[in-house]
């Protein structure tokens, strides 16, 4: 470890701390239905979209209606993407003649992008045409992000409203977030990326003759426009197979820093927006403090493990940290930090190959995802995931002191706690269930590239990433098979929507309740005691279930390597 590495990690955290409040105010205004001053000229477009869709943006929806409209939109847009991918060979903007994607592969990609996972069984530059990259994938980068934020807005309204029947209007939330946040920021961001070296062209490749006279075909395309929203919307689906490790997606150490910041940008603003909405900004800062503490712990472990390096390679005379699967321009610290950021959020972009991380360095990303990606988390999903844990936290605190629990002015009763447990039980079910199936069936066992415990880790990582809607991989796994495309597709769908529906039900249930003023017996949810309790609930309720699987995978891997065993 170096002082430069720690300066990066701490500086990065500090900058996000400074961005949280302005971002939170922007998001709070959006949730209230206000467009930012500089963007009001887009209002006619917003009104035009409502007119075409035949919706009244002021009409309040109950949680059931909100959920059904949201789900209908996911189904319809997933079908668009499926059809475009299947028909790829017949569509224009396909100069390299990429064929249509097979049924299982197209199903997997459609579910992957609609669920904000962006798991990629394929290599982008070798499988997709420029039209597919633009029209089949990029829209979901916007819309799945906007959907996540819409759900967070609905839950925030549940806490903030009193005796209300509605939780907002899904179409208005979706449209406003897209027009007044994601599109304008992406536009500026994409042009910054181009200026830094990210290509943006409708050409699909260029052929060069190298200094030694060999021919090198270089894949090109509209990369920057996809890259910007890929990070901002915590999507993570790369234009290229190597994702943000590819010099065309992430050309410099500075673009790398900006990419990491943009993964967390919206996520750190949402707790502040939540705090504002419930009338006490400290509630938001308490949640950010929990996230910050868990985040720095995770970064510390990964950075230490990667900087310590691989003892197997040290034995062969190599100096320094673990550079297998990492790019020199990022080095150890910026690669370790990126790995933690991308799995703490539900981004899943990678700037290094996690499969080649040390055993403990690779353990941390898995744990981050299994906790439910609540350490800042995906846009929207991180906040509503953390609020589920907060409900359980006040419930546990209430049990300990024998009082009925309250949180930010709302009584938390059996219905909310049951729904929260239901949502939190989805991840263990899909991750452990899927991993168990793939570990015994021949079609599953055919997947891993590596042998021994690391092969098991590849399977565990895949189901963790899919169910938690992350999208990164231990990419040695050959996942482009009907078995994995199907099962991981189901894991992604369930991992997304079987959590969203209970969250919206909680929002509806809370909105209908009256506010109860905090009394002397209320458990304070702003101080260090609460921060510690909530962090403990996240680790114990979120993490403990996965301990046996982690011991079989990364921990066994670590012990075996320390004992000198190779596989």
């Amino acid at each position: 470890m170096t002082w430069q590495g720690w300066a990066l990690i701490l500086g990065f955290t500090a900058v996000l701390g400074l961005l949280a409040r302005p971002m939170g105010l922007w998001l709070f205004a959006l949730a209230e239905g206000q467009a930012p001053a500089g963007l009001r000229w887009l209002a006619p477009l917003e009104r035009g979209l409502y007119r075409v869709a035949g919706v009244d943006p002021a009409a309040e929806m109950g949680w059931r209606r909100y959920a059904l409209h949201l789900l209908a939109f996911q189904l319809v847009t997933a079908l668009f993407t499926y059809l475009i991918l299947r028909a790829q060979g017949l569509l224009p903007m396909n100069p390299l003649g990429r064929a249509g994607v097979g049924a299982d592969g197209a199903f997997n990609i459609a579910v992957s992008f609609v669920s904000n996972t962006n798991w990629q069984w394929y290599g982008g530059e070798g499988t997709l045409s420029n039209l597919s990259q633009m029209l089949a994938l990029t829209p979901h980068n916007f819309l799945s992000a906007a959907t996540g934020m819409a759900i967070a807005f609905a839950l925030i309204r549940g806490f903030a409203r009193t005796s209300a029947g509605g939780v907002g209007n899904f179409w208005a939330d979706l449209t406003r977030v897209t027009l007044y946040l994601l599109l304008p920021v992406s536009l500026v961001y994409a042009l910054y990326l181009v200026a830094s070296g990210v290509p943006q062209t409708f050409d699909a490749q260029v052929v060069v003759t190298t200094l030694e006279g060999a021919t090198q075909n270089i894949a090109l395309g509209p990369v920057a426009s996809q890259e910007a929203i890929k990070m901002l919307g915590t999507n993570g689906g790369g234009f290229y197979n190597a994702n943000s490790g590819h010099p065309f997606e992430n050309p410099t150490a500075i673009t790398n820093l900006v990419q990491m910041l943009s993964i967390f940008l919206i996520g750190v603003g949402l707790p502040i927006a939540f705090g504002r909405a419930v009338g006490d900004e400290r509630q938001g800062w308490a949640i950010l403090a929990v996230m910050g503490a868990l985040f720095l712990t995770a970064v510390g472990v990964t950075y230490w493990a990667e900087a310590a390096g691989n003892p197997v390679l040290h034995g062969l005379g190599l100096a320094g940290g673990n550079m297998e699967g990492k790019e020199v321009r990022f080095g150890i610290a910026a690669s370790a930090l990126f790995a933690v950021v991308t799995t703490a959020a539900s981004c899943g972009a990678v700037n290094a190959m996690h499969d080649s991380f040390t055993a403990l360095g690779g353990l941390v990303p898995i744990v981050n995802m299994e906790l439910g990606e609540v350490i800042v988390g995906g846009v929207g999903a991180g906040l509503y995931g953390m609020l589920l844990f907060a409900l359980l936290g006040v419930f546990i605190a209430g049990l300990m002191v024998g009082r009925s629990p309250e949180y930010v002015g709302k009584k938390i009763e059996a219905r909310e706690v049951k729904l929260a447990v239901l949502a939190i039980a989805v991840l263990p079910l899909m991750i452990l269930g899927g991993t168990a199936l793939a570990s015994v069936l021949p079609a599953g066992l055919a997947g891993p590239l590596n042998k021994g415990p690391h092969g098991f880790s590849e399977i565990l990582y895949a189901f963790t990433s899919a169910a938690a809607n992350n999208g990164s991989a231990f990419a040695g796994l050959t996942a482009g098979t009907p078995f994995y495309n199907g099962l991981l597709g189901v894991a992604m769908w369930v991992g997304r929507f079987f959590i969203i529906v209970p969250v919206l039900a909680i929002a509806g249930s809370l909105a209908a309740k009256r506010q109860v003023p905090a009394g002397p017996g209320s458990f304070p949810t702003t101080g260090p005691l609460w921060v510690g309790l909530l962090a403990g609930v996240v680790l114990i309720l979120g993490g403990l279930t996965f301990l046996p699987a982690l011991v079989l995978g990364p921990v066994a891997d670590h012990v075996a390597i320390a004992a000198g065993a190779l596989f």
């Binding site: 062209t201 260029v206 590819h246 080649s356 690391h454």
Partner: protein, 192 residues
């Protein structure tokens, strides 16, 4: 409930089509138009043209095997530096295949007369297989071989490496690097 769902399909389809057109066609087209007008070099892939011939991209590593050139990192992209198939090796830390590959690379370097510890990036595959850079240490270790092959004094080659080191933000945002293709083009100029 059924009524709620029935009323969802029209906005789902119409707003879906409109949003796909805005975010999937208009937005990338607008970025492309501006980028191609204002930043044509970067938007086109940072291509290096030498005497009317495109010799590479400043950002994409290419394979070097001759003794008189700096050699980049091992590549797992296709059959090596295949810029249509970016990839890392994805070998785990305890993989026998990783051990054997690195062992062979180290043996080849030692057979070429190198002694002492070897910079980690020199014999490890990058994330993309297209890493255009080396660490300064990995480049400096190749100076004697290149000077010998080209009949140049070592200090001249070493000075090239020193001048090529890029160190953004004091090495805080990322590590110091040298660009292999740029360095090798400088070498060719020395000769000429």
């Amino acid at each position: 409930m059924l009524h709620d769902l029935a009323s969802a399909w029209r906005p789902a389809v119409t707003l879906g089509v409109a949003m796909f057109a805005i975010t999937g066609l208009a937005y990338p087209a607008l970025v492309t138009g501006v980028a191609q007008t204002v930043l044509p070099y970067q938007a086109g892939g940072s291509l290096i043209v030498d005497g009317g011939r495109v010799v590479g991209s400043a950002l994409i590593g290419q394979g070097f095997t001759r003794a008189g050139y700096f050699h980049g990192r091992p590549s797992a992209a296709g059959s090596g530096h295949d810029a249509m198939a970016s990839a890392g090796s994805n070998l785990g830390p305890g993989a026998q295949a990783l051990h054997d590959r690195v062992q062979a690379s180290v043996a080849a370097l030692q057979a070429g007369g190198e002694t002492g510890p070897i910079a980690a990036d020199r014999v490890t595959a990058s994330a993309s297989g297209l890493d255009p850079h080396l660490s300064p240490a990995a480049a400096l270790a190749q100076v004697p071989r290149i000077a010998g092959a080209r009949g140049l004094p070592e200090p001249r080659v070493q000075a090239l490496v020193d001048a090529a080191i890029e160190n953004p933000c004091l090495g805080i945002a990322g590590d110091p690097v040298v660009n292999v293709l740029a360095l090798n083009r400088e070498l060719d100029k020395l000769k000429g």
